[in-house]
């Protein structure tokens, strides 16, 4: 479904990603873990078209995304739930969700999408008329996730959905992700610093460090790897 080969991204002269290659097959749940500043967010932004690639190729559904703008990629069914949530603060909760279903394929089935999101995150239904900027951090994360789901995406990109949340909320968010996946058979690419939870959930994972993929493998392989245990699992 998503195939990246030799991707490099630079900010000014600084290389944030260097010759990264990875593969996400249809229906797969793939996680990327790595320390601060490794380039995880940059990788997701390159896929959704928010930052340009300096070199390499990103193929989605067999099609080269090349220089397609972010909006055009979203219309192809790529939904990006960004780091730091980035909900639309001066729009209501409902309007935020409506904007999630802005693309034509999703707009037609907006009512159905709203039912699904409200069932998943009941607090959003209660506060649907309120401005998104007034929600708590956890509710904003629900809204960001809900907005992403409203797009009826084929590929869902999630950037640190647990960031800044209390442990109990993190559990709820991860649980929701697992449920979404089961219900919709979505393809998911998740970026996380909470390595244990993220790797537990996924089928396969990559470890990204200073802009390069240093390790990849299935869930069991990765959890058993001594380097991962030392660096991320505190073993």
């Amino acid at each position: 479904m998503l195939s990246i080969t030799g991707l490099s991204v630079a900010y000014g002269g600084l290389h944030a990603l260097e010759r990264v290659s990875l593969e996400v097959r249809a229906g797969e749940f793939v996680t990327i873990v790595g320390p601060n500043g490794a380039g995880k967010t940059t990788l997701l932004k390159a896929i959704s078209g928010a930052v340009p690639a300096a070199a390499g190729r990103i193929e989605y559904g067999g099609r080269d995304l090349g220089r397609l703008a972010a909006a055009a990629r979203a219309r192809l069914g790529i939904a990006h739930v960004p780091e730091g949530r980035k909900v639309f603060p001066s729009l209501t909760v409902l309007e935020n969700l409506e904007m999630g279903s802005y693309r034509a394929e999703a707009r037609r089935r907006r009512a159905e999408g709203l039912d699904m999101v409200y069932a998943l995150f009941p607090p959003l239904r209660e506060r649907r008329g309120e401005l998104a900027g007034t929600l708590s951090g956890g509710q904003q994360q629900m809204l960001a996730l809900g907005r992403g789901l409203m797009a009826r995406p084929d590929l869902l990109l999630l950037d640190e959905p647990s960031q800044g949340l209390a442990p109990r909320l993190i559990e709820a968010i991860f649980e929701a992700i697992a449920r979404i996946r089961e219900a919709r058979g979505l393809t998911i690419l998740l970026v996380e610093q909470r390595v244990v939870e993220a790797v537990e959930l996924c089928d396969r994972a990559y470890v990204l460090e200073t802009g390069r993929i240093v390790l990849e493998g299935g869930r069991e392989t990765l959890l058993a790897d001594p380097r991962v245990q030392r660096a991320y699992l505190g073993a």
Partner: protein, 282 residues
């Protein structure tokens, strides 16, 4: 007067809110709107109140074209400080060019549209309300309502606000942020031109007429809270009201003194403006 100020200020606020561009040429687009309304009145005997609506489509197209030809070069991405300098120079330059070109082509001579109702008045109890101003006010409020409904009830209007809030996330929803900038600029220019058309029902028209109004637009927009549309609307109304009250107690030349005093008072008591949000706390 307040209704017209409200419409022009909404135009400026929309452009600033969505694009973060301060458009110094708004006063000149208003002036051009006045001239087009004037020539429609002279050539086709079109009532300026209708002329003000007729100028909306051509000025919308003009706004979109100006955005596409000029503003895309100085918005979206790049070093923010340098972008801001470039925007300032661009819109100020545009303003100078429009003023001077109009002076050259149409001469600096002031013109006036003669309408039957410009010198008539309604009796409202003890008050006399000039008919031209009353009709212009009603039209202005109607225009503002249309814009408001567009922004809050249609997907396109909501997308415009989303692009203003979080351009990056708007892109992730499939919203073409650059197209939204063009839309905002087109609507902003069309609104200020329509406000000019309404103003032309009773105000003389000359190439430099915009300067007097751009200052009031800025005051209205800041008064209402930078970039807030309802804020700009109320800000415009407040300015019209304060001007009218000032006129009762001070000579005509000082009518804007009251506006600036009210402006300073509001900013002192409520620095974020009447409708502004405080800095975002995440």
């Amino acid at each position: 007067m307040g209704g017209i100020y409200a419409v022009m200020s909404i135009g400026l606020a929309l452009i600033f809110g969505v694009m973060r561009v301060v458009n110094f040429a708004q006063g000149d687009f208003m002036m051009l709107g006045m001239y087009l309304t004037y020539y429609l009145a002279v050539a086709y005997r079109l009532d300026p109140l209708l002329g003000a609506l007729v100028v909306v489509p051509p000025f919308f197209v003009l706004g979109v074209l100006v955005h596409r030809a000029l503003l895309v070069r100085v918005t979206g991405g790049g070093d923010p400080q340098r972008q801001m300098d470039a925007q300032l120079i661009l819109t100020l330059g545009l303003s100078l060019i429009i003023t001077n070109a109009t002076t050259m082509v149409l001469s600096p001579m002031p013109r006036q549209i003669r309408t039957g109702y410009a010198t008539e008045a309604f009796g409202l109890g003890p008050l006399l309300v000039n008919q031209a101003r009353a009709y212009a006010f009603v039209m202005a409020v109607l225009l503002a309502v249309v814009v408001f409904v567009f922004l809050t009830r249609t997907d396109l209007g909501k997308a415009l606000r989303a692009a203003a809030d979080e351009p990056e996330a708007a892109g992730y929803q499939g919203i073409d942020v650059r197209a939204m900038h063009g839309l905002a600029f087109g609507i902003g220019v069309a609104l200020v031109a329509a406000a000019g058309g309404l103003l032309a029902t009773y105000h003389p028209i000359e190439p430099t007429v915009g300067v007097n109004f751009i200052v009031l637009m800025f005051v209205a927009v800041v008064l209402g809270g930078l970039g807030s549309i309802p804020g700009a609307f109320v800000g415009g109304l407040v300015i019209g009201l304060v001007q009218a009250v000032t006129l009762l107690v001070l000579p005509l030349q000082l009518q804007n003194a009251g506006v600036f005093i009210a402006f300073l008072a509001v900013l002192y008591l409520r620095p974020q403006g009447l409708f502004g949000r405080r800095l975002r706390t995440v």
